[in-house]
């Protein structure tokens, strides 16, 4: 059986390596993108089951990526977790937009979020999505 594919959009190569190790070790396939443009290309190559997104990227930001990502029908329902160095308080004003319009399912502040918590959040979201697909 194929493992669920996660798209990790993370601009730091060292942190990306840690995320890949933790998520692969928990039974996921991981594809990594450094930038928003690269993330769109990778998502186009194979639709991810879930996206883990840093907002601070080089060039186009994570927010710009989200607007682009949600503009395609294939990716409308893919859950997104924001895992960012930007403290959640700083984008409190955009919270509703992120939740309602852009389908963000969780906000995790990177410095305070251990890998175990990130993996647990991914597992929980995957279960919720499978349950809602079953009920449909």
């Amino acid at each position: 059986m194929n493992k669920p594919l996660l798209l990790v959009v993370e601009p730091d190569g060292v942190l990306a390596g840690s995320l890949r190790a933790a998520l692969s070790g928990s039974g996921y396939d991981v594809v990594h993108a450094y930038t928003a443009q690269e993330a769109v290309i990778k998502a186009d190559q194979s639709i991810p089951a879930l996206v883990i997104l840093e907002l601070q990227l080089v060039g186009h930001s994570g927010m710009e990526f989200l607007y682009e990502f949600r503009s395609y029908s294939d990716w409308e329902r893919v859950p997104v977790i924001i895992y960012s160095s930007v403290p959640p308080g700083e984008f409190a004003g955009s919270r509703e937009t992120l939740l309602e319009q852009l389908g963000v399912r969780a906000f995790l502040y990177k410095p305070n979020t251990p890998l175990t918590e990130l993996v647990q959040t991914v597992n929980n979201l995957r279960q919720m999505v499978s349950r809602s697909n079953e009920s449909i």
Binding site: P11, A22, V58
Partner: protein, 238 residues
């Protein structure tokens, strides 16, 4: 921001930039340690390299502030070989570059006379610039191995010491905007780096305190950051 090296605004902005930047090595170390606890493999040499990168940044910050605020702090320029400064910087940076899959090239061919500079300051500044670019480069290359060149060359105003890479977005405007934004923005150099780029602003402070100016520089079709140094009239030791 004031252009004076000892301005309180500069110290404040530099401190904010450093505190934001320091989160990166600390988070990297925390995650590596966690991987080891999870039994998913982590390597102690990486943790050591990341810690040393953070320490180098703090040392550079401390030196920059001392140079900027203490006019008599061993600022007397000495006769310095740029090649030896770049060689030592290269040795300091190798491990970090390996972690980021960046290849460092040392381009010190050509025989240049010694320059007048504060050796410790010049080396700390070069290491700060290079570390910032090492962290930024993989984002530009989409995972392919990238090169960073530490180089010295002659220009019409003197001898240049600088760090160079394939970074077409690194322009005078980028640096000018970054100087205005650092300390107030999480990404003052948004077109080239996801980090606060504190190493670049620490280097900028050190150079200013040495009465030098950090410039955008081009070398062998690469884009970079460099400083023009004046040749020392003292004879080169062979």
């Amino acid at each position: 921001m004031s252009s004076y090296p000892n301005s309180p605004a500069l110290s404040h902005n530099l401190l904010l930039s450093i505190t934001e930047q320091m989160k990166l090595p600390l988070v990297q170390i925390a995650r590596q340690a966690e991987l080891a606890q999870m039994g998913l493999g982590s390597d102690f040499s990486s943790i050591r390299t990341l810690a040393e990168n953070g320490i180098q940044l703090i040392d550079g910050y401390s030196l920059g502030l001392q140079l900027a605020n203490m006019h008599n702090y061993e600022l007397a320029p000495e006769s310095v070989s740029v090649s030896s400064v770049l060689y030592e910087a290269d040795q300091q940076l190798r491990a970090l570059a390996r972690l980021y899959n960046v290849e460092i090239e040392l381009n010190i061919c050509g025989r240049f006379e010694p320059v007048l500079a504060h050796k410790h300051g010049l080396q700390a500044a070069i290491v700060g610039l290079a570390s910032a670019l090492i962290e930024a480069l993989p984002s530009q290359a989409e995972g392919k191995q990238t090169k960073l060149q530490l180089a010295t060359h002659r220009c019409r105003y003197g001898i240049v010491a600088g760090v160079y890479a394939d970074l077409p977005n690194l322009s005078s405007d980028t640096l000018k905007r970054g100087r205005k934004l650092y300390g107030n923005s999480r990404q003052p150099l948004v077109t080239i780096s996801h980090t606060p780029g504190a190493g670049i602003f620490v280097a900028d402070t050190i150079f200013r305190a040495m009465q030098l100016k950090l410039h955008i520089s081009r070398h062998h079709r690469l884009y970079g950051l460099g400083v023009v140094l004046q040749p020392s009239s003292q004879l080169a030791m062979i």
